[in-house]
Symmetry: C2
Amino acid sequence: MDDIIFGKNSVLEALISGEREINKILIAKNIHSDGKLNKIKELAQANGIVFQFVAKEKFQPYAEYNHQGIVAQISPIKYYDLDEFLETPHRNSSVVILDGVEDSHNLGAIIRTCVCAGVEAVIIPSRRNVQVNSIVEKTSAGAVNHIKIIKVNSPVNAVQKLKNSDWWIIAADASAVDNYFDVNYNDMNFAIVMGAEHAGVSKSIMKLADFTVKIPMMNNFNSLNVSTAFSAIIFETVRQRICNNKKVK
Amino acid sequence: MDDIIFGKNSVLEALISGEREINKILIAKNIHSDGKLNKIKELAQANGIVFQFVAKEKFQPYAEYNHQGIVAQISPIKYYDLDEFLETPHRNSSVVILDGVEDSHNLGAIIRTCVCAGVEAVIIPSRRNVQVNSIVEKTSAGAVNHIKIIKVNSPVNAVQKLKNSDWWIIAADASAVDNYFDVNYNDMNFAIVMGAEHAGVSKSIMKLADFTVKIPMMNNFNSLNVSTAFSAIIFETVRQRICNNKKVK
């Protein structure tokens, strides 16, 4: 069963990655031609993928999405298996575990941030978590094609497996004592656990965590959005890695 | 002319701030009662604000918004004046200047992050930038009521005025040489300039900037969303301030 993806970035990144089977690309006749669109046509032609120019009325079923006059019928993304992932050796690697993130825009934004920050995989539970849908693909600006997405039945078991393979578990929690920048993220494989928008990280994962960290709040105001909170934490790990490499040199 | 705001957080934060004149609150009869809703009713009663329980059909005009069964008619947010802001003394303060951010969700997310990170004001141009609308209020989780929002005719003039008052200007730009964590943000008033989603910071502001900084990309992938990029930068300034205060003690 094919998925539908929307927008220039989503379609272009799917073509570039070469990981997805694209059945057909539909382009609105009135669409404004630009560098991205030309690149899409070029890659489609080179790979023998059909693209059709159609009247904009054909996009009526997708009106609720910001489709930019381009959609593609595409094979679903390929999910990876945690056991296989852990069988291969890793060094100074990072993954993120999403424990009940329910909003498609947040999942898309987190995946996009992960690719920019060099995170190797995103682990999502197959229940009580949003899955990779069209909105996630669009919000991620096509980043879903550039990272391993691992689906697990139980995030608690996933955490236990990572621990057994010597990965460190760092849970983000608003009531933690340590700030996220108090942890040294260098010279280890680590997993950042981000919780549900309202409930936070589940108690059973909190018990297994090696560190719990908070983002310090400078005002008496509820809390950050999960995707912006994740960005602050993950780029601190990038900062530490770059600064550490400079010191070693 | 009244604005309409949606959702529990938006309405609750508007009540808590006491800065807005609320004409009327409409609550859907079938709404699930919880701590936030009780707090809303309590604050409304204490301040003599009318709230009405209405059939959910009354929410039909707001179907496209995630209203959670509650809307309020409210006076528009009060915009601040840059000249007045600069007349009062500031010490180790920060503001953000948005140079053409077009997406309501991004503006809301940035305002929310600003309040969490203790940023004093958000400066937005009155043209070529999204304004504070219902979606911005909702995405900000009501944070619009807890920060000064300054509207300016020309962001270039605003930058010049800030410079004349000894504020440092830091522009975020993907092609900068320095990383955002190479700058020392302590012991100064500074303004972070974030550019439009596609075009970035305008050339005339780039020329006036004291520093231009980038977020290092760990993959060959286009770039971060403006609100997640801003979060990484602004929480680095928070980290530096907290670590510096510890050293001084």
